[in-house]
């Protein structure tokens, strides 16, 4: 079967991985358009480009799209594509589940966007607090679409997570013990376990919300004995691990890229792996920091504040590790490396603003202001998306057999960095000045107009940079220089397969004796495993 049919019926992990990435790209552009509509509306005070109800739909759809239809799927896609290659396997353990998970996720996205066609897109924010999300206050069908779509997407997520866990557990090449796996594999494994433990909390919340809305149940209806706060607890029990779920695989990518372009193995592999486990466990114990403003009692808040500050420690460990890897190395600034280094800086800024929120009084001042918006975009865009851009530039040759254009890459890099920081850095100040989030317009207070305009201009530059990146990808697919199997002189197993890999990844499964099997192969006189 060739052509479209082959792609629709694909169960080969490489094809499904690319399907995930394409789907994520489409939704990324949709979410980006939603963002630009918002930024246009906010460019000056008291604008009336769109109605307030439309604005609410924009921020809800933007957030929901970016987290559930872009970040999670694209990271899953990279995982599904790369994991078998990195562990020396020819396929995922459960290929049909692989495809099913993708299609579930896509169908969920289609269902969500279908709501636009009915005129009632969801509009209660991406975390839809009760009682706003109850039928009484949101009578349209928008939130029903939201909940049902998310249930489908969650199902797909859990399916792919289970698949990745089983694959990593059972299909590693001979000699590749769990102590020798590439860090991207390790982080994907930890993330997948986190998904298994966190997504059901979302599912429970959504089931409860749908019961309330469609079957007149009383979970969140205070007047009838329910508790709106229960939604917040249950959602954030999912929500906090979720933000680590969308960032840990990105960490994994960075951990592959920085060593190769520093020509040094990663510094402190055991600490990198252990700190990942620490982050995974701790992330389930800090959810209350999203609820500091809800009057839960001082002692309670203090304990969660302490735990939230603690979680910065293992994350900081990783930053040190990456920097230490670069230290003294022969650094080569390819576009992938540029994005990786930018990631370090941007994510650190985002992490610092996050830790600021762990201090309860600061949170009371800053919550629901643009300071939060700045924080989340620094960690999610400056973090996850930058890492993804690095990852695309790094693995594109493997996936397509062609190199991306370096000159276009650099242009897009600088435009994206300029645009991103212009758009979001000023939002820290807007938040400190008191501008609340999720408002469709604002009064003409000192600095509000100017800073918002700067932010909008930054967003426009960012869009341009992204489009340039897309153009680079499109052009290079057809006209890029032919890449060999191993254009970067890298060390992990995926570079031993062809570019792009054949249907059967490896003609013979290699035997692995260290963390850098290709280094061993290229340097038989000084292999990694020969070191005492």
């Amino acid at each position: 079967m060739t052509g479209l049919g082959a792609w629709l019926c694909a169960i080969d992990h490489k094809r499904v991985g690319i399907l995930y990435m394409l789907s994520a790209l489409l939704f990324f552009l949709a979410g980006g358009m939603e963002a630009m509509v918002m930024r246009a509306q906010l460019a000056a005070p008291n604008l009336k480009l769109i109605a307030p109800e439309t604005y609410n739909q924009m921020f809800t759809m933007h957030g929901t799209t970016m987290i559930f239809l872009v970040a999670m799927p694209v990271l899953t896609g990279f995982g599904v594509y790369l994991i078998p290659l990195m562990i020396g396997a020819n396929e995922m353990a459960l290929p049909r589940l692989c495809a099913l998970s993708f299609w579930l996720q896509l169908m969920g996205g289609v269902l969500l966007y279908f709501s636009f066609a009915t005129g009632a897109a969801p509009d209660a924010g991406w975390f839809s607090y009760a009682p706003l999300s109850e039928k009484a206050f949101s009578p349209g069908a928008g939130l029903d679409y939201w909940a049902l779509a998310l249930l489908m997407i969650a199902g797909g997520s859990v399916g792919s997570a289970i698949n990745l866990i089983v694959t990593i557990a059972t299909e590693r090449a001979p000699g590749m013990s769990m102590r020798l796996v590439p860090l991207f594999v390790w982080m994907t494994l930890v993330t997948s376990v986190m998904i298994v433990f966190a997504l059901p909390a979302l599912a429970a919340s959504l089931v409860m919300l749908l019961s309330d809305r469609l079957l007149h149940a009383r979970f969140f209806d205070a007047a009838q004995g329910g508790a709106p706060l229960l939604w917040q607890h249950y959602f954030w029990i999912f929500g906090h691990p979720e933000v680590y779920i969308v960032v840990l695989p990105a960490f994994g990518m960075i951990s592959e890229i920085i060593p190769v372009f520093s020509r040094k193995p990663i510094f402190g592999y055991p600490f990198m792996a252990t700190s990942t486990v620490a982050i995974a466990f701790l992330s389930y114990g800090v959810w209350v920091h999203h609820m500091f403003a809800v009057a839960l009692g001082r002692n309670f808040l203090a304990v969660f504040a302490a735990a939230s500050m603690l979680i910065a420690v293992p994350t900081g460990m990783k930053i040190f590790s990456w920097v230490a890897t670069m230290w003294g190395g022969a650094i080569r600034f390819t576009t992938a490396m540029l994005f990786a280094v930018a990631f370090l800086l941007e994510f650190t800024v985002g992490g610092l603003s996050g830790v600021a929120f762990a201090t309860v009084p600061v949170d009371w001042q800053m919550t629901d202001t643009y300071f939060v918006v700045a924080h989340i975009h620094y960690v999610l865009f400056g973090g996850t998306v930058f890492a993804l851009l690095a990852g695309v530039h790094y693995w594109f040759p493997k996936m397509s057999g062609r190199m991306l254009d370096e000159k276009l890459g650099r242009w897009s890099f600088w435009l994206i960095v300029l645009g991103f920081n212009t758009a979001f850095f000023v939002q820290h100040f807007l938040g400190l000045l008191g501008m609340t989030r999720r408002v469709y317009t604002y009064p003409d207070l000192p600095w509000f107009g100017a800073l918002n305009l700067i932010s909008t201009i930054g967003a426009a530059i960012l869009v341009f940079g992204i489009l340039l990146f897309c153009a680079n990808v499109a052009m290079s697919l057809f006209f890029g220089a032919v890449a060999g199997d191993d254009p970067w002189n890298a060390w992990t197993l995926e570079w031993a397969a062809a570019s792009p890999p054949l249907l059967q990844n490896f003609a013979e499964i290699p035997e692995v004796r260290s963390r850098r099997p290709l280094w061993d192969r290229k340097h038989p006189e000084a292999p990694d495993w020969g070191v005492a």
């Binding site: 859990v158 997570a161 289970i162 866990i165 089983v166 298994v196 433990f197 966190a198 997504l199 059901p200 909390a201 599912a203 429970a204 089931v207 409860m208 019961s211 309330d212 079957l215 007149h216 149940a217 009383r218 979970f219 009838q224 004995g225 329910g226 508790a227 229960l230 249950y234 029990i237």
Partner: protein, 152 residues
């Protein structure tokens, strides 16, 4: 299957927690609940026999499991009817909401399990058995929390 069941554990744990949190009050029939529990336990036993016998011998035990499982669901349905007749519905308040959602979700999973058992090919039997034991265990937890502990 084990990984999937871990996910389900979290899901049902949260639903049970909601039930406990609201600590609703209503009279649940211990006898009816007890009979249902016995039915499901018996069906797990027959499931175990089905899974441990060879390809030929599993058929009759599977049939027994399906029958017992169906009887469980019917028992649930009858209880639901009685409760609704007494005015305890999904909208009745915290108890109705949490009880019906919890047992309803469990019942849906049992139904799905019955359908899957009816059409599953032989190699899947071991996984399905695990699924079945798990939902028997979830029912035990529900029974203890909703029937026994609430009655006290």
């Amino acid at each position: 299957m084990a990984m999937f069941l871990i996910a389900e554990t979290v899901f049902f744990f949260l639903l049970i927690l909601a039930f406990v949190y609201f600590r609703g009050t209503a009279k649940l029939s211990l006898e009816a609940g007890g009979i249902d529990t016995a039915l499901l336990l018996a069906s797990s036993l027959s499931m175990w026999r089905a899974a441990s016998s060879g390809t030929g011998g599993s058929r009759p035990w599977l049939a027994v499991t399906l029958l017992l499982g169906a009887a469980f669901l019917i028992g649930q349905g009858i209880q639901y009817l009685h409760l609704i007749r007494d005015g305890v519905t999904l909208s009745q308040g915290a108890f109705g909401t949490t009880f019906f959602t919890l047992t309803g979700m469990h019942g849906l999973h049992v139904l799905a399990g019955l359908i899957a058992l009816a059409i599953a090919p032989a190699p899947a039997l071991r996984s399905m058995a695990l699924y079945w034991y798990f939902f028997t265990a979830v029912w035990l937890a529900i029974f203890l929390v909703a029937y026994v502990w609430s009655a006290a």
